[in-house]
């Protein structure tokens, strides 16, 4: 009788080895295929565009879930501000915004995933800092969202400004830049605070809701997302002060300037489209006629844009981006207005924001 257990174990062993073999053998052809691609496209790092075209899909690394920036809808389609940017690049490069493979990454794994080539773009609310840019050998191609650390308080506290927070207890995520920012802000204003250290954002929300801390601090976009999750959101407010700079933007690997140019000009094209009043609704009409503003003509491929062939893009790249994804404002409104996030710093420079677009000529 108990011999059976040995037989079962032996068969399980064989099954295990078989499973291992199946997984590896299935892996092998893919590996070879990949290698031939990289060999043909030496020097290392270059040829990202060819690789994407050959594959027919763009690999994009996104957040595992952040309200407004990346989240799957009920049908399983990823949506969000960062996801829109992946789609825009796919539209420009492949002509089809749906041809994106999404790979999710956490804050800890995002850079290694990019470095290991699991994606061509890291579009995951990543703060542009010196060491990430230089030390990790990555290229930040621009800023698509200016974030900053803010404070949320219950209205019953009667505080109107972060400068009134002397002596408050603050829920703060340990081991993040927000912790340092908080200390610097309070020290700089000669105020004292009582830190309530927490591990995760979810924990912070519960502590804040239960009144364990007076103030909750994290990036402003995160505060708005948290606020949206409250049942009684009218009882809380986000204070006007922003105490740190968090310029978020898409990232690519060092070593392929052509690809970096493509990605950065897709971002600028979306912003330029907003500046020139080109939307997903009117882009086809504008592309069909001769506009007085020659910059619109150049952007939409009506007039020749010097150097576009060097990027390896077709003249209608921007038309694809704007018609399939929309301009910067459309993406912002679609994804971030539901969180009641205002344009603020993220308005174009002509509207008092920070986005200043180099001319398209």
């Amino acid at each position: 009788m108990s011999n059976n257990i040995v037989i079962a174990a032996i068969v399980a062993g064989a099954v295990g080895l078989g499973a291992g073999y199946a997984l590896f053998s299935g892996q092998a052809p893919k590996t070879v295929e990949k290698e031939t691609v990289t060999v043909s496209s030496a020097p290392a790092g270059a040829g990202t565009l060819d690789e994407v075209r050959a594959r027919g899909k763009l690999n994009c690394i996104i957040n595992t879930g952040l309200a407004g920036f990346a989240a799957p809808d009920d049908k399983g389609n990823w949506t969000g501000f960062d996801v829109d940017f992946c789609k825009a690049v796919a539209a420009a490069v492949l002509g089809d915004a749906t041809k994106v493979n999404y790979t999710t990454a956490t804050g800890k794994t995002r850079f290694t995933k990019l470095a290991a080539g699991e994606g061509e773009i890291l579009s995951r609310n990543t703060t542009w800092t010196f060491s990430r840019d230089v030390d990790l050998a990555q290229t930040f191609i621009g800023v698509n969202y200016y974030d900053g650390q803010g404070f949320m308080v219950p209205k019953s506290l009667g505080v109107k400004s972060a400068k009134d927070l002397d002596g408050a207890s603050v829920c703060i995520q340990t081991g993040t830049t927000t912790e340092l920012n908080l200390a610097e802000f309070f020290a700089g204003n000669n105020m004292k605070y009582n830190p309530v250290p927490i591990e995760t954002n979810a924990e912070a929300q519960e502590l804040y809701k239960s009144g364990r801390c007076d103030v909750y601090t994290t990036d402003a976009s995160g505060l708005y997302a948290t606020l949206m999750s409250f049942d009684n959101k009218d009882d809380h407010m986000v204070l006007p002060e922003v105490v740190s700079k968090e310029p978020l933007g898409p990232v690519v690997r060092h070593g392929d300037d052509q690809w970096a140019d493509i990605v950065s000009w897709v971002l600028r094209a979306m912003m330029a489209a907003e500046e020139k009043g080109i939307t997903s609704a009117n882009v086809k009409d504008l592309a069909a006629k001769d506009n007085k503003d020659k910059e619109i003509n150049r952007l939409l491929g009506k007039d020749p844009l010097q150097g576009i062939s060097k990027l390896g893009l077709s003249p209608d790249w921007a038309v694809n981006v704007i018609s399939q994804v929309g301009n910067y404002a459309e993406s912002f409104e679609r994804n971030l207005y539901p969180l009641t996030i205002q344009r603020g710093l993220n308005a174009l420079s002509k509207d008092g924001g920070l986005h200043y677009i180099p001319p398209i000529k």
């Binding site: 108990s2 099954v15 299935g26 990949k34 595992t64 879930g65 794994t109 290694t112 539901p338």
Partner: protein
């Protein structure tokens, strides 16, 4: 009416006095045996009523099962908003696996039970034939799930997620780690120095490192060791790490079992002139494995639950899918419902495993204790 007479000693037992047996008697003895007991009973019943009333109300009667968003849920009723689950149940089960191809997962899952039946239940009819199916099942499931052969569409691993991912990781880890664990346990007891040293090093290293570290190694470090351009699926890397990790624990559990066997058993086997492998196959392992069943199952259940750790390297297991659902502005803030649902899934599968191990223990019980 004339009273019956009985011979001395044959008078039938009288029924116990009313109020001391049956439900009434039980209640009287256990709940209302004294004034203080009666008070406690009444207070407890009142408290229980409020508690259960609130919980059941929240869970069932006041709950909303169909709505388009959390705001809509709250408008309809005050209880749980299960709509976040019902709207996304496909995502919770299959991750982002394309809807048109989900039958492949269903078939793989159902046939998994056929493949496991002969391994788990020795008395099953036609066991010999079914064992052949068990042998080809891994290839069959791999081809069906990943695709890319026989004209079946290839599915990228990045689309894997949800309960399906948990089952793939958990089952592969469990199935592969048991044989490796047995070999390691035998290796650690071996008289051959090289084998013993390797086994000890492996076991001690794997046990000495947190699983989460191994997962980070799988997700980040391995990329640096491989030749550039190798795309070694993260799923395989993670399964290997899970397997190694739990194999080390299994090895120690089984070693405990081996050492619990009385010395006389070995001596008897030696006296019969058995070779090492005969001894292992007929004397050591049958007894050692039987003793180790609770420990092995403990490790398996632990491994199964540890699969949720993959969320830190960006794989969307049920917890990850739940978090992603909460990041949707429509469902933001429904963490209680989401996490309860995931907890229920894990409870059901872990409870089933633990019941099976109990059944197996009873079945193999030879009453030697």
């Amino acid at each position: 009416m004339k009273e019956k007479t009985y011979q001395p000693g044959s008078y039938p037992d009288l029924p116990p006095p009313p109020g001391t047996v049956g439900i009434y008697g039980w209640i009287r003895n256990n709940l209302f045996s004294s004034i203080s007991n009666s008070l406690l009973t009444i207070i407890s019943v009142i408290l229980l009523y409020y508690l259960i009333d609130g919980i059941i109300g929240w869970f069932l009667f006041d709950a909303v099962y169909d709505a388009e968003s959390k705001i809509e849920c709250r408008k309809i009723d005050s209880g749980a908003c299960w709509a976040v689950i019902t709207k996304r149940v496909g995502q919770f089960v299959y991750g982002f696996y394309p809807e048109a191809e989900r039958w492949r997962i269903d078939i793989s899952f159902l046939t998994m039970f056929i493949a496991f039946a002969p391994l788990l239940y020795p008395d099953i009819p036609k066991r010999k034939w079914l064992l052949w199916f068990s042998l080809i099942y891994p290839f069959f499931a791999y081809i069906l799930i990943m695709g890319g052969y026989f004209g079946i569409q290839r599915i990228e691993y990045s689309l894997f997620g949800g309960f399906m991912l948990t089952v793939i990781l958990g089952v592969s880890g469990i199935v592969c780690s048991l044989p490796i664990g047995i070999l390691l346990a035998l290796g650690r007891q071996s008289k051959l120095t090289v084998i013993r040293t390797i086994s000890i090093c492996f076991i001690e290293f794997m046990r000495g490192v947190p699983l989460i570290t191994l997962l980070f190694v799988a997700s980040s470090m391995l990329n640096y060791f491989m030749p550039p351009g190798t795309n070694f699926s993260i799923l395989v890397r993670v399964i290997i790490m899970f397997t190694f990790f739990s194999a080390a624990y299994i090895a120690e559990v089984i070693r405990g079992g081996i050492q619990a066997i009385p010395k006389g058993q070995y001596e008897a086997a030696d006296a019969l002139g058995m070779s090492y492998w005969q001894k292992t196959r007929f004397i050591t392992l049958p007894q050692a494995l039987k003793i180790s069943i609770p420990g092995i199952m403990n490790t398996f259940i632990g491994l199964y639950k540890d699969t949720t750790l993959v969320v830190v390297i960006g794989l969307l297991d049920p917890l990850g899918i739940g978090r992603a659902a909460l990041a949707d502005t429509k469902w933001n803030g429904l963490s209680t419902e989401t996490y309860l649902f995931v907890a229920l899934f894990f409870f059901v599968s872990c409870f089933a495993m633990s019941r099976y191990s109990l059944w197996l223990e009873n079945k193999l019980n030879t009453d030697q204790k």
